[in-house]
Amino acid sequence: MSAKQEFVEQAKAGKILARKCTKCNHLHLSTVYYCQNCGAKEFENAILPGQGTVATYTIITVPPAGFEKYTPYAWVVLKLDSSELRVSGFMANIKTPADLPVGTKAKITGFDERGILIEKQ
């Protein structure tokens, strides 16, 4: 299984597969092959809980192809509680900014043709 596929499998279970540099402990999303902090190549997997808070977001009303039936929806950058990592994905049923203030608690809930799925906690 490729690193991306392993990441997707964990996202389906509501978790984030991160890679921790064994030299400097810097955390990355699974698709990084060299440490962005120290350049080392050795990593160990770190499976992180998918809970976090909304760092920023938008509500899309003019969607790309394939998203018409979900419109309006939010695209969200989620800051994970357990680390400094941020992960972005799709959130359904958000219509106005009042529905999703920055700082709202949210979590990873799955992965499908809409990429990483995020819901409010």
Partner: protein, 390 residues
């Protein structure tokens, strides 16, 4: 990075551009039209061109990729080498940078740099979808993030972090439309008000239609050459005194702060260092205002204003054509238009015209030093160039 050792000083000798907007002619036709404009402006013969740098992103939309050889053939110089370059919305400036490096290194005395895009015939859904492929697709485009959506996320972060309102963003659009009204090549030549912006349809909250640049067709071209070549040909030229590049994490989520674009800062630092100047020495700038929030962020990242103060500067008119640091006198991407492969070259065309007295009614008074900043996607790649009049 090792500091560059240049053999030659590099100049822009001539510039040409098609109108930006919805164009009928084919992608190869408009590329050649802009190139001929630059060649005639420079007062040179095509055979004096030693290489072509052609930037474009979605040639596939008009059934022509590998544009370089087509352009060179149409210019009567099929034997001359060319390079076709893609770097999303920053393609034009990246191409310009590669051309600059080759002339500076002494490989060529004179080269053609032309950028082009032809997409308006494909419609909004096609462009929204294909442009989203310029994002870090796994995390962004795949999850429904359009480009307006990505910049809207930056806008939301800015509204959260600083004292700013959606009305502040609207002022950028109003200013750039005022400038574009004076630019005969501009796509959207229409005066607008703050209310027009605020009441326009929401595209990706908090950005509305008039916060967004249009999808445009268009081509822009310049002749880049050694100073010796420019002097021998006797035409009007400007010097390229600074060139810098930088990168950012491809996905927004990889950035600690979403109200700044790291690649712009890196590119600007490198360009200022090469030019031996600071932001205070710049008389005007053409920056990448694909969305109103982008111009605010750019003006801060380029060092014109402190972080969070870009909105105050617009409110106070400091970035208007008669302000102390005019930004986007051409009308910018917002009003002049954004043919994505051409934009970075189009900015250089504007600076050339401004610094050689060819900008007509939109001339920035007493300008000697102009800066261009153009990035790809959400600023994952960026190039900054600095120019000085002779």
């Amino acid at each position: 990075m090792r500091s560059a050792r240049f053999v030659e000083k590099v100049c822009v000798l001539g510039a040409g551009s098609t109108k930006y907007g919805k164009l009928e002619d084919s992608i190869s036709d408009i590329t050649v039209q802009a190139s001929v404009g630059a060649i005639e402006s420079a007062g040179i013969e095509p055979k004096e061109i030693e290489a072509g740098y052609i930037s474009n992103v979605f040639g596939v939309a008009d059934k022509q990729v590998h544009l370089g050889p087509v352009v060179m053939s149409n210019l009567g110089i099929p034997e001359k080498p060319s390079l076709s370059i893609e770097s999303a919305c920053g393609s034009g400036s990246v191409s310009f940078r590669e051309a600059f490096a080759n002339v500076a290194a002494g490989f060529y005395d004179a080269v053609l740099v032309t950028g082009v895009e032809k997409v308006t015939h494909t419609g909004t859904e096609w462009t929204t979808t294909y442009f989203s492929y310029c994002s870090d697709f796994f995390y962004e485009g795949q999850a429904g993030a359009s480009f307006p959506g990505l910049f809207a996320s930056m806008a939301r972060a800015y509204l959260t972090e600083f004292k700013a309102t959606e009305e502040d963003f609207a002022r950028v659009a109003v200013k750039n439309h005022e400038n574009g009204l004076l630019n005969p090549k501009a796509h959207l030549r229409k005066k607008i008000t703050i209310d027009d912006v605020l009441s326009s349809a929401v595209v990706a909250s908090p950005l509305k239609l008039y916060d967004c640049c249009p999808f445009s067709d268009g081509a822009s071209s310049v002749i880049l050459c050694s100073e010796k070549f420019a002097k021998e040909h006797g035409g009007d030229y400007v010097k390229v005194i600074g060139s810098g590049r930088g990168g950012s994490p491809a996905a927004l989520q990889g950035r600690e702060h979403m109200t700044t674009i790291p690649s712009t800062k890196l590119a600007a630092q490198a360009a200022y260092k090469m030019a031996g100047i600071t932001a205070k020495d710049v008389d005007f700038a053409e920056v990448h205002d694909c969305f109103t929030i982008a111009e605010i962020v750019d003006s801060e990242d380029l060092g014109f204003f402190e972080k969070g103060k870009g909105v105050d500067a617009v409110r106070e008119g400091r970035t208007s054509r008669n302000g102390d640091i005019p930004i986007n006198p051409s009308g910018g991407l917002k009003s002049k238009g954004h043919p994505i492969g051409a934009t970075g070259v189009g900015q250089v065309v504007e600076v050339y015209e401004q610094l050689t007295g060819k900008a007509g009614d939109r001339t920035v008074k007493d300008a000697k030093i102009g800066l261009t900043q153009n990035f790809g996607a959400t600023g994952a790649s960026c190039a900054v160039h600095i120019f000085q009049s002779v």
